[in-house]
């Protein structure tokens, strides 16, 4: 399946995509257990720091301060970075971001680039834009390179190929990198990728990276990787372009201490990523650019109920803990960022297309409690539901059913009658509810109707006090 979704599935909603995913029961079990294991690693790491909850609270407050002084912090960041020799660009939306990146490359006559992980560039569909305009793009994060070769989208923001088994990777590398047929040893395959991508690092003139944190106080930005691919690209390239949503700003350098302690532990259970690179000035002779992107973020900033979603540091902990994500996979969210955080970010970008996402949840609250910056994810999911209904993005049948329900539940007499009728029907003619049209009945029995309701019992046995 191309892109992780083809033209047909782009029109499918989460429920349909999840149902397809679940059809392969064994694979669902494998996907669920793999991600639950990552959640457990996070727990182990978090429980080693007695100050873990204090760190989460501090991170949340630092990010809030960041959001509330965003204008001044951005101006300060730009000033410092510019004085350090970095060129700053501003992009209102995805298209402008793509155009800016392309124009930098054109000015330097570069038609081949390497990229390290950036969810922002996924959101902007940068790869497609550049390819359309004659620029060859190679993703260098191993997981991203795998999905790129397979023409799929990443399914997880930290573990892009988590939906694939070793066999799948072995097949892909055999096809594109010439590895041995049937060899699925991760060591062997990683070595092949190392050689294949090393050639690109050494030969390509432009490298594009994301930004994990941008420090207003000093104008520096930090990129965190385990593989070293962002650095292999940036330190060999003539042109380094770093792309960031403006919400990546943090106030002071020392705040990096808080975030770097939380990020990797939340994401994978490691105390820190192998490399945490602080870029402050271009390498002598190198051009360094930062593209600061809005693309709906300033709008989200203005939404009182949803602005906290901008605190996100893209750790993926919410995805690993989410029982729904684990059993439906990232592709069922049809969005650059999937899972719980994706479901509160995406409706801001396109309400109609993403109206299904806030409903892809039982509101269990696990996500909010693993979030290192304490985003009230499950509460925002609830609030998005209210917004989506008000904006009319809910099926007409549901609206009618809800209005009927409202009437019944506001009128005790009607409620009692409806209940009695329902139970009688179920007792006398079970096939009226226990049939193929009732989704509950597909894989579950209906509850057995008792002979009397509680209120009837109470009336008889407690004289209706």
């Amino acid at each position: 399946m191309k892109n992780g979704r083809d033209a047909r599935t782009t029109l499918m909603n989460h429920a349909e995509l999840a149902e397809n995913f679940i059809k392969d029961g064994e694979r669902t079990t494998w996907h669920d257990e793999t991600l639950w294991f990552v959640r457990k690693k996070r727990d182990l790491a978090a429980f080693q720091l007695p100050e873990w909850e204090a760190l989460r609270e501090a991170a949340s407050q630092i990010k809030h301060n960041g959001l509330s002084n965003m204008h001044d912090y951005l101006v300060a960041f730009e000033e410092k970075a510019t004085a350090n020799g970095i060129k700053i660009h501003w992009a209102m939306d995805a298209l402008e971001h793509n155009q800016i990146v392309h124009s930098i490359l054109k000015e330097n006559s570069i038609a081949e680039i390497i990229k390290s992980k950036s969810m922002l560039t996924e959101e902007c569909h940068l790869n497609e834009y550049l390819i359309e305009h004659g620029v060859d793009v190679v993703d260098t994060d191993l997981g991203e390179r795998i999905v790129q070769l397979r023409e799929e989208k990443p399914s997880h923001i930290v573990l892009p190929a988590i939906h694939l088994k070793k066999e799948d990777v072995g097949e892909t590398f055999h096809k594109y990198l010439g590895t041995e047929k049937g060899n699925k040893d991760p060591q062997y395959l990683t070595e092949a990728a190392r050689q294949h991508l090393r050639e690109k690092f050494v030969s390509r003139k432009a490298a594009l990276t994301g930004v994990n944190f941008a420090v207003a106080e000093t104008g520096e930005f930090v990129v965190c990787t385990n593989e070293g691919n962002a650095d292999m690209g940036a330190h060999l390239a003539d042109v380094h372009i770093a792309c960031m949503g403006f919400e990546k700003i943090i106030p002071e350098r020392k705040h990096l201490g808080v975030f770097l302690r939380l990020l990797a532990r939340s994401a994978t259970g490691q105390p820190i990523t192998t490399y945490s690179s602080h870029f402050k000035k271009p390498r002598p002779g190198q051009q360094m650019h930062i593209v600061i992107v809005d693309n709906g973020r300033s709008q989200q900033l203005g939404r009182e109920d949803f602005r906290n979603s901008l605190k996100c540091i893209r750790c993926g902990a919410c995805m690993n803990t989410c029982p729904v994500y684990r059993r439906s996979g990232g592709h069922s969210y049809h969005s650059a960022v999937a899972g719980p955080i994706g479901s509160i970010l995406a409706p801001n970008l396109d309400m109609r297309k993403n109206a299904d996402l806030p409903f892809a949840s039982t509101l269990c609250g696990s996500c909010s409690n693993v979030c290192p910056v304490k985003i009230d994810i499950h509460e925002q999911l609830y609030k998005w539901r209210q917004v989506l209904v008000k904006e009319g993005h809910v099926p007409f049948g549901k609206k009618v059913a809800m209005q009927a329900m409202t009437f019944t539940l506001s009128h005790p007499g009607v409620f009692k009658t409806a209940g009695k009728v329902g139970r009688s029907m179920m007792g006398l003619a079970p096939f009226t509810v226990s049939n193929g049209l009732n989704p509950w009945y597909k894989q579950r029995e209906m509850p057995a109707p008792p002979k009397e309701s509680f209120r009837e019992w109470f009336s008889k046995n407690r004289n209706g006090q």
Partner: protein, 194 residues
């Protein structure tokens, strides 16, 4: 209106009311010996810790594990007998064939076995990444407990590029199987100097 003005204006209009920054000066809880912690964590992340009394031991190490045909570089003048010293101004691409690079860190962080180096210690930015094997010398009394202590040490130092380096490069992108040696160095040895 240009994009910059548009974005900044939208942000100014939409940003919420401010709260003060939290005091993080005493957030760290340290109940361990920094050297022991550093060694344990380093081993856990795939690195190797070797305690040494002087730099001659590094020379011996290089002679034992590497042969003459392999390109070895370093920023430490004391290692001139086994390593190239003057590569800092070469084109970074020429470092592609380096087998072992030996650097010295400013300080290390016990809680995550990370070492902090800036350009002065790195020689070249790409140096710790492009090498097949990496070794870093650190004074034992230059270990701090946590990242908060680390940033206190860094304070408002000026640098063009700074790096926390923790262990060898790695990936678990293929079915969560951990593989050491992704695109950066395959191995990482830390010489703890007394």
């Amino acid at each position: 209106m240009d994009s910059r003005a548009y974005i900044l204006e939208a942000i100014a209009k939409n940003q919420p009311s401010s709260n003060p920054l939290p005091d993080i000066s005493s957030i760290a809880v340290v109940d361990y010996d920094v050297v022991e912690k550093f060694k344990t964590i380093l081993e856990g992340i795939g690195g190797q810790a070797i305690e040494i009394q002087n730099l001659d031991e590094v020379v011996s190490y290089v002679k034992s594990y590497f042969n003459e045909g392999q390109r070895i570089i370093s920023t430490l003048p004391e290692l001139a007998s086994v390593a190239e010293i003057g590569w800092q101004n070469q084109d970074p691409h020429t470092l592609e064939n380096v087998e072992l690079n030996i650097l010295r860190a400013q300080f290390g962080v016990a809680e995550n076995a990370a070492l902090w180096l800036t350009e002065a210690q790195l020689g070249q930015r790409v140096a710790p990444f492009i090498t097949q094997n990496l070794a870093v010398v650190i004074d034992k009394n230059n270990l701090v407990a946590t990242m908060h202590h680390a940033y206190d040490r860094i304070a408002n130092a000026e640098y063009g590029f700074g790096l926390y380096l923790a262990g060898p490069s790695k990936t678990a992108d293929i079915e969560q199987s951990l593989v050491l040696g992704a695109h950066g160095s395959r191995t990482m040895t830390v010489f703890l100097l007394s």
